[in-house]
């Protein structure tokens, strides 16, 4: 049975790669070819889709803008979530259980509900069409996620670890940074990646809160469903390019996720 263990992830990954291969396939075709014929490899191999994106500022700035607000959001969400998750994990205080659950409720409504109110809110505080606006708006659903994930991992670490460190003379700050954080590294890696991911793909709010300056790539992509009809090749190329930053992020945090430190030896 153990010999076939590798078969499971392999088959799964093959399954995942098929549509992605199709996407990349499409990105090198003209829209005519995509809609006209069925070919496993572009008959007319063309770079024109990628050229368009990489040379047109409205396109590539979309990527840059997305990267900016997503990064801000990830740092903000995970940063605010760490102390909060610690508190939920280690302390009892008035309203703690209700607060914890309330956080999650913010993820329970469809984004459409927030579109108009957010537009009004962020315009009122003068943040319309800024990266900060989108980054802040996304904290609505990313912070609860980060808190819940981090709390889950922190609760797996026994309080005795904290106390052992104090007995050994660590201050709270040093303990948190040098001992605690490495112990929950997997949780931080996963939380950071998910925050990045959910913010990166969120379309509706990002579109609503921006106009020109901070317009994200996802919004630019909807342009392709415009007057000229569905420019599939372009969309496919844009979509393929979207994968790249995220792939970097997961590669970057893979060590956190995979290493899973054994319970700290003090």
């Amino acid at each position: 049975m153990t010999r076939f263990r590798f078969l499971v992830p392999t088959l799964y990954i093959l399954f995942l790669m098929l549509p992605i291969y199709w996407l990349v396939n499409m990105s090198f075709k003209t829209t005519n070819e995509i809609l006209g014929t069925f070919t496993l490899w572009p008959v007319e191999f063309t770079f024109e889709n990628y050229e368009k994106i990489l040379t047109d500022p409205t396109w590539y700035m979309g990527y840059v803008n997305s990267l900016i607000y997503v990064s801000i959001n990830t740092v903000l969400s995970v940063g605010a979530a760490l102390p909060a998750a610690y508190a939920f994990s280690r302390y009892r205080f008035v309203g703690d259980k209700h607060l914890f659950f309330w956080l999650l409720t913010n993820r329970m409504a469809p984004a459409a509900v927030f579109a108009l109110p957010f537009f009004q809110l962020y315009s009122a505080v003068g943040l319309f069409d800024t990266h900060l606006a989108v980054a802040l708006a996304h904290t609505l659903f990313n912070i609860p996620l980060a808190v819940w994930i981090l709390e889950g991992f922190m609760s797996g670490v026994p309080k005795e670890l904290d106390e052992t460190a104090y007995v050994d003379g660590y201050s709270f700050g040093r303990f948190f940074v040098k001992i605690f954080i490495p112990t929950i590294a997997a949780g931080i890696g996963v939380a950071a990646f998910f925050c990045f991911m959910f913010s990166w793909v969120e379309l509706l709010l990002a579109k609503t809160l921006t106009a020109v300056d901070a317009k994200p790539i996802a919004a630019t992509m909807t342009r392709t469903a415009s007057t000229s009809g569905y420019e599939l090749g372009l969309l496919a190329a844009a979509g393929s390019l979207t994968i790249i930053p995220g792939a970097f992020v997961i590669y970057f945090v893979r060590n956190y996720i995979a290493k899973g430190f054994a319970l700290g030896r003090v």
Binding site: L16, A109, F153, I243, R254, I257
Partner: protein, 288 residues
């Protein structure tokens, strides 16, 4: 865990509360506001109390959409969670393949949802899409634009493809966080693989699995973009899930009242089910 009482812990959670509340309160007020008022489109509003709520709860259209939604969510949970856990258990813990696996598995999650819908749309077309061609080539009569069954099949397949990795990543991170000492003790105690799974791995994964299940539950209930781009809710309204229906009502008919009321009802359903699930899962911990 024995938590110590400490009211000053509020300082730790303050940043989180401020940020989230800032974003949450105004929309909530807005939605509640709209849900209890009626307008005739001329920007004057009249109090209508629970009228919209009654209308929504009685409407057959709502019941149909709710039914479809429940079925959809049930199906994907039943597939994605066990599958995700199984894959995470089968993945290597150390070595060069770990990075490869993690990166490749994360890719579907990173694609914007409208692209996901669009690419599956083409991918599944019977004449020009790889999946469509394959299935029809194998003898199945497959056309998701015309047949409700095929549409559902494609929809569920797309979601499994898109989101299972979330379960895998969460579960995997949870697995590697189990300290070696537990596996060592199990070895010394002579425990076999299934015992390790049952007495060590699954219990330690409980919290992580709860998060994964709740996340998938909520997100699938609210799903909009991918099915909309894939099928548009069709054929007919075969795949019109709650969110799609909601947007149709709000935008198509400019009926903010019923739309707002529906959003609230919708929200309360998710809230109730999540709360029940959460309480059930965490009830054991309260005993400790």
């Amino acid at each position: 865990m024995n938590k110590t009482e400490n009211q000053k812990a509020w300082l730790f959670v303050l940043p989180v509360v401020l940020l989230v509340a800032f974003n949450a309160i105004i929309p909530l007020m807005t939605v509640v506001n709209y849900s209890v008022q009626e307008t005739f489109g001329d920007n004057t509003f009249f109090w209508s109390g629970v009228m919209w709520f009654e209308q929504v709860l009685r409407s057959e259209r709502f019941h149909d959409a709710l039914g479809r939604q429940l079925f959809f969510t049930f199906m994907i949970l039943v597939i994605e969670v066990p599958l995700g856990v199984a894959i995470a258990l089968a993945m290597p813990r150390k070595g060069p393949w770990v990075s490869v696996c993690l990166v490749l598995m994360a890719l579907p999650l990173l694609i914007p949802w409208n692209v996901v819908g669009a690419m599956w749309n083409i991918f599944a077309l019977p004449d020009i899409g790889l999946l469509g061609r394959m299935l029809n080539g194998m003898g199945f009569d497959y056309n998701f634009t015309r047949q409700p069954f095929s549409a559902w099949f494609t929809l569920i397949l797309m979601d499994v493809w898109h989101w299972t990795s979330l379960v895998v990543l969460l579960t995997y991170a949870g697995l590697v966080s189990i300290p070696d000492a537990y596996y060592q003790a199990a070895k010394i105690d002579g425990a076999r693989s299934w015992a390790i799974l049952r007495y060590i791995q699954l219990p330690k994964l409980k919290r992580v699995l709860t998060i994964a299940i709740l996340l998938r539950f909520m997100d699938s209930f609210n799903i909009y973009t991918e099915p909309f781009v894939l099928t548009g809710g069709g054929p007919g309204n075969a795949t019109t899930l709650l969110s799609i229906d909601l947007v149709k009502i709000a935008l198509g008919q400019f009926d903010l009242g019923p739309a707002a009321a529906m959003s609230l009802v919708y929200f309360l359903i998710i809230l109730l089910l999540s709360w029940i699930f959460y309480t059930l899962m965490m009830r054991n911990e309260a005993q400790q």
